[in-house]
Amino acid sequence: MDRLGEIHQLIIPLPGYTVTINLEVLVMTGIVFFLALTFGFAAGRKKSLLPGPVQVIGELIVTQLYGLTEEALGKTHAKTYAPLICALFIFLLISNWLGILPHLEEPTRDLNTPLSLGILGFVIAHYVGIKEKGFKIYIKSYFEPVFFLMPLNLIGELAKIVSISFRLFGNIMGGAIIILVVSYLTYSILLPPFLNVFFGLFVGTIQAFVFTMLTVVYISVQLK
């Protein structure tokens, strides 16, 4: 119970300021990278017309996400951004599922991971917006409908980062805390496996998909 919210940190004091590194998150992110690369390698190694089981899963994820991106962004943009979207989804999916293995925990449980991914999506969306519409029209969109609403439009844009990253973080951390507390209350009898399936696999998949779709939507809003 005392482990609630505890983080192993490496604190490096430098003159003037301190650098804090969350060790567990780094290790877990590394594990996720490794698993994602293994999956990609296994899916793409022996490409054949009669696909093996791993290739089927890989093709399923990629074609579905490619289709959704194409619907939202159109054919030309989908070619550029669909690989990013697929990679984002696979990374988040493996991250959110990692917590069901003993001794491992989700990198998305630490706010740093969702927040940096949220900022990534935000920067890409605005880059696309400036590139497509031109700087002048892009800036002009902040002064609509009336020019003095500019600060609120700006806050509205920044609030998107908050909403996308805190949603993922809150769900994953909430699930993890609920599993921890209920396991403690029931002495880990009977309930924890079901909770792991619900919060780890089910909610984890949905939230990975929601995060990915919102990134696509944010890009598509800037395009129009």
């Binding site: 919210g5 908050v162 809150g170 769900n171 609920i178 129009k224």
Partner: protein, 327 residues
């Protein structure tokens, strides 16, 4: 420091009991209402299509089980509050326990009612299109699970309030800040939970009406629900700031009331946008199922409408942040 001429141990104990009662009492409202709605729709469904009553009853029970989870969260928090062994009684701890109860109690209302809506409408949908019962139940499960998000946020805040070591902080704005933190997430979750349920309910109908549009309908539903949950995400953010920021000691009443009002402002300000965004999502999802060829336009109009409705939640957040950092 003592208040009401009782010692800190008694005060903390009182707060824990009141908190537990509030958590479970309010927490029961939503789930019970939602489950009743589900059962009433199931009755209607069976009356229309009695041959498939077995599938409908199964679907109703699964849906009710998920709507129930919000009140199970409340039960967990209430039991923790009742049996908690308080090692460091103080007025701040008392405020934290009361706030945990308030947060979970209010936070469970919206998700409970909200999750009942897709569960009920999916029963009707099965009566209408029994051949796609499997798909409708899957869609309903996804929708109701996402509806639980605001209740999960409330539970996270409640658990942090319960277990965060108090340490040596200034008793007097901190008490108010903690209660504000509980109110912020708890109240903001009401609208978001119900709004998400409206979107999910429309998607169950949509899948029954046009089974081939399932992918587009589920995607629109998830995006719509995600945006309707944004007010509760803002509530969570304000709660985190109120819990983790350390405030300078001040015994003036205005400093305390300011922080309490910050939480209250975000909490109440989140209710309307949550429901409004849910309505926007409901409309979009319903019409995506009927006119799949306009799915892109419908999604865009939904997002634009939600962004405008959302702006009121952003005003509330701005006012609470000003109350926390400026005033």
């Amino acid at each position: 420091m003592t208040l009401l001429a009782v010692d800190n141990q008694t005060l903390t104990q009182i707060a824990a009991y009141v908190g537990g009662a509030v958590a479970m009492g309010f927490g029961a409202i939503g789930a019970a209402t939602g489950e009743g709605y589900t059962a009433s729709r199931a009755a209607e469904a069976i009356a229309r299509n009695q041959e498939h009553s077995g599938v409908i009853i199964k679907n109703m029970l699964v849906g009710q089980a998920i709507s129930e989870s919000a009140s199970i969260f409340s039960l967990v928090i209430a039991i923790l509050l009742l049996f908690m062994d308080v090692s460091d009684p103080s007025i701040v701890k008392a405020a934290a326990l009361l706030a945990a109860g308030l947060c979970m109690g209010f936070g469970a209302i919206g998700s409970g009612v909200g999750a009942g809506v897709p569960a009920g409408r999916s029963c009707l949908a099965i009566a209408r299109q029994p051949a796609t019962a499997g798909r409708i139940t899957t869609n309903m499960l996804i929708g109701t699970a996402v509806c639980q998000t605001p209740a999960i946020f409330a539970m996270v805040v409640a658990l942090i309030l319960l277990f965060k070591p108090i340490g040596s902080v200034a008793a007097f704005p901190t008490c108010a800040a903690l209660i504000g933190a509980g109110l912020s997430t708890g109240l903001a979750a009401i609208g978001s939970g119900y709004g998400g349920g409206m979107a999910a309910g429309a998607s169950c109908e949509g899948v029954a009406r046009q089974p081939e549009t399932t992918t587009a309908v589920t995607t629109t539903m998830l995006v719509g629900q995600a945006v309707s949950q944004t007010p509760s995400v803002f509530g969570l953010l304000v709660s985190f700031i109120l819990i983790f920021k350390s405030f300078p000691a001040s015994t003036t009443l205005s400093a305390s009331v300011g922080l309490l009002s910050a939480g209250l402002c975000m909490g109440l300000g989140g209710i309307g946008p949550g429901i409004g965004n849910g309505m926007a999502a409901e409309g979009a999802v319903r019409w995506v199922a009927r006119r799949i060829e306009y799915a892109g336009d419908l999604m865009r109009i939904m997002l634009v409408g939600q962004a405008v409705s959302q702006s009121t939640a952003i005003y509330a957040m701005v006012v609470s942040l000003v109350l926390i950092f400026v005033v």
